[in-house]
Symmetry: C2
Subunit: 108 residues, 2 copies
């Protein structure tokens, strides 16, 4: 299921890059909003350390997920669709066999 | 200059513990307020990661500084006085030689 950069046409790459950027922007904007809400609930230093732990986990997750790597793109997009940061429609133009794999994986 | 628990009388220990707790409360409350202000300036995810880095450093610093250990108390109190989380007056009742060392160190 894994691919390489050469498995992607130039048009597919452009669509993928745009969708990737869109999902990143959505997820990071949602995180900013979430942090702003969480900070309103902080009253003790332990709440700050909990927020710090949460940010450590999210940063690790986001840094890992948005590592631009064609060999893992099918899996990455499947996860982004599953987590609702992206819809399959936004990948329209990418070859049907790739979309089909993403769709199947996103439902697992 | 380092001491042990037996170098501190029971009265001194009570004064030291209370002052230590006071400084901790002041510093952590100031940090909470600072974080609440910083979050208002967040517009991009990079700002969130900067805040995360800042919290990592502060947590490490605070965890290390407020490690309750009589052998390092002269130094810890000197630093708390230097950083204005505590005044020498709030340690009144602790032996003059200890206060004198703290005062001298706090001005270095």
């Amino acid at each position: 299921m894994q691919g390489t950069e050469t498995d992607w046409s130039e048009v597919e790459k452009q669509i993928a890059q745009k969708a990737f950027h869109t999902a990143y922007k959505r997820e990071t904007t949602a995180l900013i909003n979430e942090i702003c809400e969480k900070i309103n609930l902080v009253t003790e230093i332990e709440d700050v350390w909990q927020l710090h732990d949460y940010l450590s986990a999210k940063r690790h997750e986001i840094d890992g997920k948005y590592d631009f790597d064609y060999s893992a793109f099918i899996f990455v997009f499947a996860r982004l669709i599953k987590d609702k940061w992206l819809s399959l429609d936004e990948l329209s133009g990418i070859a049907a066999d790739k979309l089909s794999k993403m769709s199947a994986l996103s439902r697992m």
